[in-house]
Symmetry: C3
Subunit: 169 residues, 3 copies
């Protein structure tokens, strides 16, 4: 039990550290859409892993309606992930995100195929993905990269890169 | 009556064929935002054609609030249209979409003028419009075209094209 | 009291003038998301100025859930502002917008730093910001400018400009 409290504390502290404008923990817990979406995802992912697919999707859709953030129950999210604003952000079934990442609104980690294989991006640690950025396909975004607003990425990004505009073959 | 059932079956089957990850028809009918938005639109469009404009807009706004997808009651949608994810997608009053198209989230089929004339795009058959793409004005998107993520289109696209980035004069 | 009525009339008239397709004032007042979001913001901004930060954020989040438009309670909006469609539009805490502007959906007036200083854009009068445009940092958008759909702006825009694509150093 104390482990869950520790994890929750770590999680909300990430938001507090990220956004000094937040006046209190209550504001983050009750009023920010990002933490709500991630908490719902923890439940949805648990249901998904136990093959309660319908229930998992139900939780995910309810979360989308409440927060505007759509995370497929199958997605794997790292620790201390911050989703800021988040409206219209979509994270696909086989997407994987490392630790300490920051994702803004209108970001898509999507697929371009529909086979039941790994078809969504893998994102390293400490990556910042700007608002409106679309990352499609099973590409790898290296750690410490920054993806600019409205960027469109369809190939691998080396660690520590800054990407702006269209980045594909 | 059996005709309505046939049409509904054809419609939901399009989603099932499109997304093999869907585990069941129940999931599509109850949990996907796209089918809900299109069903609401069928009602709103019917009200609009019978000049119940306020009621038509009410249904359309309710659908927007439920699904994040905004389809003006006047828009003409083709058969077996799939709207995937759909959050923040906006389809204007005089837009027309052909059969078997796939439209993702954050897509706009919008106008740049406000005269009560044809001012929104016409989309052919089997067109795929990627997430974040904005198509503005009474342009024509030829059949079998693919519009890339975050593209901005303001001129006619010939049939079978692939468009990425800014496409205007 | 009559002053409030005058202001409300002026405000809703701006929408009516902007959109001749609107069939009635009732449609604008009851069914358009933009006016709802701006009315909520007037309340939230008043609470914010009186240091009721939690309550101000609560009103702002409720408005976001109802309309899909997220306006920070601290933002300063000019007169006769029209927000059209508005889903996923985000306006930051220190953003300032002049009079008679038109802002579409998926627009961000955002920040790239988190210090409690002026960190969001300042927008002049009669500016039109197209759908999907992202304007980041404490930049100045000159009056009578037009920012194109999906533009990404990170430096000052002179008055009367038209901006398309990426506009940064």
């Amino acid at each position: 039990m104390s482990r869950i409290v520790d994890k929750l504390y770590e999680f909300f502290k990430a938001y507090k550290d990220y956004d000094p404008a937040a006046k209190s923990y209550w504001e983050i817990i009750l009023l920010y859409p990002g933490p709500k979406a991630i908490c719902c995802h923890v439940l949805a992912h648990h249901l998904y892993q136990n093959k309660f697919y319908f229930l998992a999707r139900f939780v995910s859709e309810l979360s989308r309606w409440l927060t505007g953030i759509e995370i497929h129950p199958g997605a794997k999210l790292g620790r201390r992930l911050v989703i800021d604003h988040g409206m219209a952000t979509v994270i696909g079934e086989t997407a994987e995100i490392g630790d300490d990442c920051i994702i803004f609104h209108e970001v898509t980690l999507g697929g371009v195929r529909f086979d039941p294989i790994k078809r969504h991006p893998t994102v390293g640690d400490r990556v910042v993905i700007g608002t409106g950025a679309k990352i499609l396909g099973p590409v790898h975004i290296g750690s410490d990269s920054r993806i600019g607003a409205n960027a469109f990425v369809m190939k691998d990004v080396p660690a520590g890169s800054v990407v702006v505009g269209v980045f594909k073959d």
